[in-house]
Symmetry: C2
């Protein structure tokens, strides 16, 4: 880049993940050049002392459930899954604050952390109808200039077992929700093939992807992963299916998991883990070694299920490293990959990354290098979306239409 | 308190863990009163919007090993325990920066987080002699006004198997180190009774407590805990013994663990966990239910073993909650207890707590309540040691003699 060309922004002296110092020239919201800039008449950001990461990707969150910004509320959930679901219905039904306000406050915080792509599941059930969907569609519009939201129609209370849910999900897809959700086809619906048949048909009809919550344990869970693979192979959906949680893959032997891993890799079925520590998790390094795409997400954040979580994708990546005691450089970078490139691949994000021509979406983190950023997770970050600074040091300063 | 009395500091409107708003009057470095103050002529700190926690207690760290403040160094440890130990010897031997500088930088950061009591193990072995001990004793003097350090003579490379180590440990105790360390009596020294006989005799001779690193797994580990209980019962050391890590207690059935728990409770043997997630940990709630004192510590921080860790005791307590998926109010407060009262009990800290007459050592954390402080771990904290502010918002501003 030369100074006589017009650019939106020039970023100088940013340290790449590989360790080089680079200058970025941004034009029309995209990375126009990655080459030394001598001097610039355009606004220039001196990124000395910062590492340059691609936009962080939140692959799994439930924005519509959050109590973010609300006064502290003692957790009353449990004791079993049915109890958690029933408790949440009570808590959310008793709230006056609209979804858009709670979800919007959390989303601002997530963007401030660097998450510029967010996949949120949305509860769909006869008791709430399409209210959550409508609120989240409005929120997506409001935040269009600040973050890209993907939405999943999520049958939280069951699909086949709760009549009317499938019809509501179909209606949600017509309104603009792009992904079909599933939930423990065996454990919740008690009819695994029935649920999978329903959601794969719905996805094919609507040109949607699929994202299935699978908490079912051990052999029951892995058997369902094999059936999800069958349905993926039998449909046109290879590369557009994600299985979230999949604790079961951490419960059986690697010998048992290996052929499953090969099928997941062949069918480009992604896995998402929130890296919980009180239960088994998919053996990430092993699965990646077999070509499986594994990413990380927050799951619920400060909601009726748990008060934990803050939507900081860098912290989530660090928790993944913590979960597996990863401390080598390649391990720390592998953990980061779970909230950057692997997550972008899982979500099918076009033009993702820090290449010339990509949207100028990135995060500058004040750190010696990327490994240092991973272990310390500094809050000193500058977040850039389409060439515009949308957050600084934890504060969202972007533009939002309404909420 | 009335305004005509002289006080060092008055703290107003702090929220207690129980949720009340209180005023503290501090005189001669101690809490002189916990009662409403109408107006004060003494310096007054308005703690509105902050929760008042007792000084955080770091129950287990290795300050002499840290690489804190050093340029990033790719982790080269492994593959097995012997490899980790040998790697550390190489890394530390190649450093120019003295222990006091590295450990002091980390200690400042720990104090800034609110840790005012710190138990640090110190490597003692023929290859390093008493150099680490001397550096840590000097550091303790330097920081005397800012934090209380307890030191443990730790035979990192083995005790019986490395001739000369026991003599160096004994010499360290004479110099002022107050606790005798141990390390996998079976796994490292291959002579469990021999190591326990040596360290218990040394502790009795010197009036010291005991703190044993126990990584040995399953039945081998639990069998050693039973032997540690035997030696504790047979000595005058009940209430002065800690077992650190004790993964083994998480590897066997609760039925098997229950009688062991009863003995630990009877003999007031404390347990310390760093809440790792890639290995079993002691079942904390179960053990506490049986009266066992369990606390939390950081273990190594950014050292040759691992680049992870930052010495923030509040984050460590949060990791304990994360490890067990604790989200209920009593669970979050129970996690905090592992870095406050339980840790103080384990370390035998006199006059610990927020009672009238106790040293005015506490942390004000900007949060709605203690549970909120636990899940968010805000860096906005004011740390008070003996009535003087020693840190604010993550920056150490206390006085240190030299380093």
């Amino acid at each position: 880049m030369h100074s006589h060309t017009t650019a939106d922004l020039v970023v100088r002296h940013a340290r790449t993940i590989a360790g080089d110092s680079v200058d970025l020239t941004i034009r029309a919201g995209r990375i126009a050049a990655i080459a030394p800039v001598e001097s610039a008449s355009t606004p220039t950001l001196d990124a000395s002392g910062h590492v340059l990461l691609p936009a962080l990707v939140e692959a799994h969150v439930h924005l519509d459930k959050t109590l973010w910004g609300e006064p502290w509320r003692a957790n009353t959930a449990g004791p079993d899954l049915a109890g958690f679901i029933a408790n949440e219905r009570r808590v959310l039904a008793g709230l006056d604050v609209p979804i858009g306000k709670r979800a919007g406050a959390l989303l601002r915080s997530m963007i401030a952390g660097g998450s510029l792509h967010v996949r949120s599941h949305i509860d769909i059930a006869p008791d709430v109808g399409l209210r959550h969907v409508e609120a989240m569609l409005a929120l997506r519009e409001d935040f269009r200039g600040a973050a890209d939201l993907q939405l999943v129609a999520f049958p939280q209370t069951g699909l086949l077992t709760v009549p009317g849910t499938a019809e509501l999900m179909e209606a949600a897809l017509k309104l603009g929700v792009e992904t079909v959700g599933g939930l423990d086809p065996a454990g919740i619906d008690k009819d695994p093939i029935g649920q999978l048949r329903t959601i794969f048909a719905m996805a094919e009809r609507n040109g949607s992807g699929i994202d299935i919550h699978l908490h079912d344990p051990g052999d029951l869970g892995v058997w369902q992963i094999e059936r999800i693979a069958d349905f993926t192979a039998g449909s046109g959906l290879a590369g557009r299916v994600m299985i979230s949680h999949a604790y079961c893959l951490g419960m059986l032997s690697l010998e048992r998991i290996e052929p499953v891993a090969r099928r997941l890799a062949d069918l480009r079925i992604s896995l998402m883990t929130s890296a919980p520590a009180d239960i088994a998790v998919p053996p990430v390094a092993f699965l990646r070694g077999h070509g499986v795409n594994v990413c990380c997400g927050s799951d619920g954040i400060r909601d009726a299920w748990s008060p934990m979580g803050n939507g900081d994708a860098l912290e989530r990546a660090w928790l993944l490293a913590y979960r597996f005691d990863w401390g080598k450089d390649h391990e720390l970078l592998g953990a980061l990959d779970a909230v950057t490139h692997s997550a972008a691949r899982a979500l099918g994000i076009a033009d993702y990354g820090l290449e010339v021509g990509c949207p100028a979406d990135f995060v500058l983190v004040k750190a010696e290098n990327t490994q240092d950023a991973m272990v310390r997770r500094p809050h000193e970050r500058i977040v850039v979306k389409a060439g515009r600074i949308v957050a600084r040091d934890g504060a969202f300063i972007g533009t939002v239409a309404r909420s």
